[in-house]
């Protein structure tokens, strides 16, 4: 085929592991890759005696490793959500952030937090993203069919509304430090991720990944629209709601953990498509790994570039994502 495959899964997997180890060594305290392996081996029970001091062990095991793993999972989840939304809505501009799902999830999360339902906050984020998705599709329908630009306009409307409501809630309820913390989370930040955060991210991935990957071939059938997909034997309404539900769940959980980290679902699928083409059985595994690596390095940059201050990673992804958004817009200008 002329659409060549310049990325291979094994190469990406090796890059991912190397990146993860490298990212753990980055930070104010100098840690060597050897120490990283020792700490992991020790905690997995392979090394009975750790040669690493308890403080350095804690930096690796309690601070950096959970954060690195969370970043990997969030990146994979956001990239998958974006790719699935793009295929199902035949909209190259679809992205959980641009269609307002992230803002909806943030509103849901903040509402549950302020209601004192801290433990159920991820559930609130899921409800928020599901509501935003349903509203975006409804508005696009009211505008006379979900063309890419209509969906984006609907997303702008929802994002504005949800953000205003979120700001209002925070303005009334939060004070001092919590205010600053919530704002930083809203801008998208993986700061302070702990093991339970990583656990939740991987739980969401474990729930959604089989559904999405099993339907990879069915997503290909949408290349020429709903009627074409149906004529190939696909149950279009059922597949659409199942997969959009899965992306809403993924987005909700990713926002509950990392806030509104934008553009990952746009940048990564488009970049990976250029390398491996649009066939989803090939595309989805590649872009998961690529999304994980992308998120890991942007988050590592966010926490080390202006050390000791931390940048919300959403700022970095937006700096990269906005120009990519423009490039996609120009490339697909005929259809938007």
């Amino acid at each position: 085929m002329t659409i060549t495959h310049r990325l291979s899964l094994p190469a990406l997997a090796v890059l991912l592991i190397a990146s993860a180890v490298a990212a753990v060594t980055f930070g104010p305290a100098d840690i060597t890759p050897g120490e990283v392996w020792s700490v992991i081996a020790h905690h997995l029970g392979i090394l009975p005696e750790s040669p690493v001091s308890r403080l350095r062990d804690a930096i690796v095991w309690e601070l950096r490793l959970p954060r690195v793993l969370t970043a990997l999972g969030v990146g994979a989840g956001l990239a998958l959500s974006g790719a699935v939304m793009q295929a199902l809505t035949r909209n190259p501009l679809a992205d959980p952030f641009l269609l307002g799902l992230s803002s909806g999830a943030a509103l849901g999360a903040v509402s549950f937090l302020l209601l004192g339902l801290t433990l159920l906050m991820p559930l609130g984020a899921f409800f928020g993203s599901l509501g935003a998705l349903a509203l975006a599709l409804l508005i696009a329908q009211l505008l006379g069919g979900a063309t890419p630009s209509r969906a984006i306009l609907a997303g702008i409307c929802i994002a504005a509304l949800a953000s205003a409501a979120t700001s209002f809630l925070i303005f009334w309820s939060a004070t001092g430090d919590s205010y600053r913390e919530i704002l930083s989370w809203l801008m998208g930040s993986l700061s302070g991720s702990i093991w339970s955060d990583a656990g939740l991210v991987y739980l969401a991935l474990a729930a959604c990944l089989p559904i999405i990957l099993a339907n990879g071939r069915a997503l290909d059938a949408f290349a020429f629209g709903d009627t074409a997909a149906a004529s190939l034997g696909i149950d279009v309404p059922r597949l659409r709601w199942t997969l959009l539900g899965a992306t809403a769940l993924l987005t909700g959980i990713m926002v509950a953990i990392g806030g509104a980290i934008g553009f990952v679902g746009l940048v990564v699928p488009h970049a990976v498509r250029l390398a491996v083409g649009s066939a989803h059985r090939k595309l989805l595994p590649h872009l998961m790994l690529a999304g994980a690596i992308f998120m890991l390095w942007t988050d590592t940059a966010a926490r080390t570039l202006f050390d000791p201050r931390e940048l919300p990673v959403g700022i970095i992804t937006a700096l990269i994502g906005a120009p990519v958004f423009l490039a996609v817009l120009l490339r697909y200008r005929r259809i938007t």
Partner: protein
């Protein structure tokens, strides 16, 4: 054995789009589906595909089409739409391989050798083998439409439905496409094709089904049913029929549109 449609009715939000349509399309023949815009041609094709809820019966080769499982139905009939585009990065081979979806196992990673052989045959049948490695979006409209036909053939259908497949093609591509359909009908495939161009329909179809306002207006061979009266009542035009001496087909020469009030368009 043929396609046989009886008492087919389709309504959308309590407005009747098709009422009591009955016709048959003979096996191994090209049946043309004609009628003015809004007559219900596309809705009829959708109903055959099970995409819109319909009343009545649709039988093909002993199968009750609306009651079949989607996957089984997709192995029996395929659809070629009016030129449809995509923004996806797919090679021509990838597009044709979509036709194998109804046959693939859920976790099958790549087309198997049997699928590949069928894909290659579909490419060869449509004269698109040379494009197989090219990206679909780089092809001309006529080439893209041939690839769509190849994709439909890869489904190995017994019944091929086409919805105005020639509408965006230049005349050469139109003739190539219809010649390909002739060849497939000769090999035993039943073909139902919605067409706008009545002269193309007269030239290439064995049988015509005429819809007007959601009802069957006429069916029969082109020579039987293409009459000045039908063109007047169904299309609202005055026209003459001359005989094409080279191949004996009727040829329509259009004169003028009839003023609204004078046309006897059936209710």
């Amino acid at each position: 054995m043929s396609l046989s449609v009886t008492a087919l009715s389709v309504a959308k939000s309590s407005t009747a789009i098709l009422s009591d349509v009955g016709f048959s399309a003979p096996a191994g023949r090209i049946t043309g589906l004609i009628g003015p815009n809004g007559a219900g041609k596309s809705t009829l094709l959708s109903a055959l595909l099970g995409l819109v809820p319909a009343q009545g019966s649709i039988a093909f080769e002993g199968n009750d089409l609306p009651r079949m499982r989607r996957r089984d139905r997709a192995r029996l009939l395929a659809l070629v739409e009016q030129s449809t585009a995509t923004e996806e990065r797919l090679s021509v081979h990838d597009v044709v391989a979509l036709g194998r979806i109804p046959y693939e196992a859920a976790w099958q990673a790549e087309p198997n050798p049997e699928d590949e052989a069928i894909i290659d045959q579909a490419l060869a049948d449509t004269g698109t083998t040379g494009f197989a490695a090219r990206r679909f979006t780089t092809l001309s409209g006529g080439e893209q439409q041939r690839v769509h036909v190849a994709r439909a053939l890869a489904q190995q259908p017994r019944l091929l439905l086409l919805d105005e497949p020639t509408s965006h093609l230049d005349i050469r591509a139109q003739l190539q496409l219809l010649a390909l359909l002739r060849q497939k009908a000769g090999a035993g495939m039943t073909i139902l094709v919605a067409l706008h161009d009545l002269n193309l329909a007269a030239r290439f179809c064995d049988h015509l089904v005429v819809l007007a306002n959601g009802r069957l207006a006429a069916q029969g061979s082109p020579a039987e049913i293409l009459t000045p009266e039908l063109l007047r009542s169904v299309y609202g035009v005055s026209a003459r029929l001359v005989s094409d001496t080279a191949n004996g087909c009727p040829l329509i020469v259009y004169d003028e549109a009839i003023a609204e009030g004078d046309a006897q368009i059936p209710d």
